[in-house]
Amino acid sequence: MIETKNLKKQFGSHVVLSDISETIEKGEKVVVIGPSGSGKSTFLRCLNLLEVPDGGEIWFEGKNILDSKNNINVLRRKMGMVFQQFNLFPHKTVKENITLAPIKLGVMNKAEAEAKAMELLKRVGLPEKADSYPKQLSGGQKQRIAIARALAMNPDVMLFDEPTSALDPEMVGEVLELMKELAADGMTMVVVTHEMGFAKEVGTRVLFMDQGRIMEQNTPEEFFNNPTNPRLKEFLSKVL
């Protein structure tokens, strides 16, 4: 579904991604972990071109997204993204946040988009917040709305950029729970996170990134029980 070939990115002289070649299949739940500055967020943000790589290729559903002939705006509709800082639109109500893109892009009419929004709000457990503004919500609620907003475009893959890192500890659970439900429904997911429990429970594959490279990857059991890379062993000994 998503394939990167020799992906490169550097900020100035600092190499953030060096030669990342990776394939993500439909239905996979790929969890990316690694220390800060390892390039894992940059890798994720390259997948929908929020970060433009300096070299390499990215293929999504058979199309090279770096090819200017392929309209990135159309391709992005099929890649939902959830941010660490939620990035809800503060001047719009919760419902408007969810319906904005489908209506603006002509994917749905207003009635369809609102019906879809209410369905999604029920799914994330916040139907009573439809007419609230983001400021009136807790962090966990904001992130659940942000997930609903991304789902409104019926994406084929969901990208999560540290979705629980900005949350109070007691709100992490509700967001992870929602992500688990999403995974159980068969959504293809790429998740950058520090939640090792989530990686173990939900991930079908775990990647460890350090210094702009994927140092090791494996199924969750093998990854956590029999790590081989010394840097990964050190990392796991600190976080587990």
Binding site: L50, N73, Q85, N87, H91, Y133, K135, A150
Partner: protein, 237 residues
């Protein structure tokens, strides 16, 4: 006691002469009308130009080959902000609008609009930069293009943030139009000077004109507060 009464009488008479005698209020009204026309035209042009320049500067920042547009915008802002509005008005009037039947009011409106646009551009730029980059990314990640994101997500928030600064700029603009008399426009200030030359008592008409400006600005400020209040919706806790 008599002296005080006498003084009040005199002052009353001089203001009566400056405002009522020979229907002189008609001069103020004409001046006021011209001042309002110039201000309104300049405000529209200024807001349009300012937002346009700010958005162009923002959206062409990372596109190769379009750097010259950004440079052009920067040149505009630099020149306008670096020269006095009085000279800009004279230059535009003499250089560009040299036809005999030029409408001075429109010339003044355009000139003050071009002038104000440069300041509005800087204010709007600050407003756009005040919005978290994540808002832009969120819009783009949903599939909106750059302009859709700018005008449905960034601008509404930016305008709210810059409204006080924008209001300030427009208040300055209203008063600055008093310079327009240099190209033979009877604006409010000119009307006051004219009446002063007729009554040989310059002070009362000037004070009346000043009061008119004050009332206009107070009214405009009230309008701004009203709009700010309406835009606060999303911030209610």
């Amino acid at each position: 006691m008599d002296a005080i009464l006498n003084w009040f009488n005199q002052v009353g008479q001089s203001y009566y002469d400056a405002f009522i005698t020979e229907h002189r209020y008609m001069f103020y009204l004409e001046g006021l009308r011209n001042t309002l026309l110039i201000s309104f035209l300049a405000l529209l042009i200024g807001a349009f130009l300012g937002i346009l320049v700010a958005v162009i500067r923002f959206s062409t920042a990372n596109i190769k080959g379009l750097h010259w547009i950004k440079s052009l915008c920067n040149l505009y802002v630099t020149i306008i902000r670096g020269t006095p509005v009085l000279l800009q008005l004279l230059i535009i009037y003499n250089l560009i609008f040299t036809a005999r039947n030029t409408n001075e009011i429109i010339v003044a409106g355009i000139c003050f609009g071009i002038n104000s646009g440069a300041y509005v551009a800087e204010i709007v730029r600050a407003g756009i930069e005040s919005i978290d980059k994540g808002q832009y990314e969120a819009g783009r990640s949903l599939g909106l293009n750059g302009n859709q994101t700018m005008f449905t997500i960034i601008m509404p928030q930016a305008i709210k943030n810059i409204l006080p600064a924008l209001g300030n700029e427009f208040i300055v603009l209203i008063k600055e139009t008093s310079v327009a008399s240099i190209i033979a426009i009877t604006d409010l200030s000119k009307a006051a000077q004219f009446i002063g030359s007729r009554t040989y008592d310059v002070l009362p008409p000037l004070i009346i004109a000043a009061a008119c400006y004050l009332i206009m600005v107070i009214g405009f400020t009230k309008l701004l507060h009203f709009i700010e209040g309406r835009m606060d919706q999303g911030d209610r806790n």
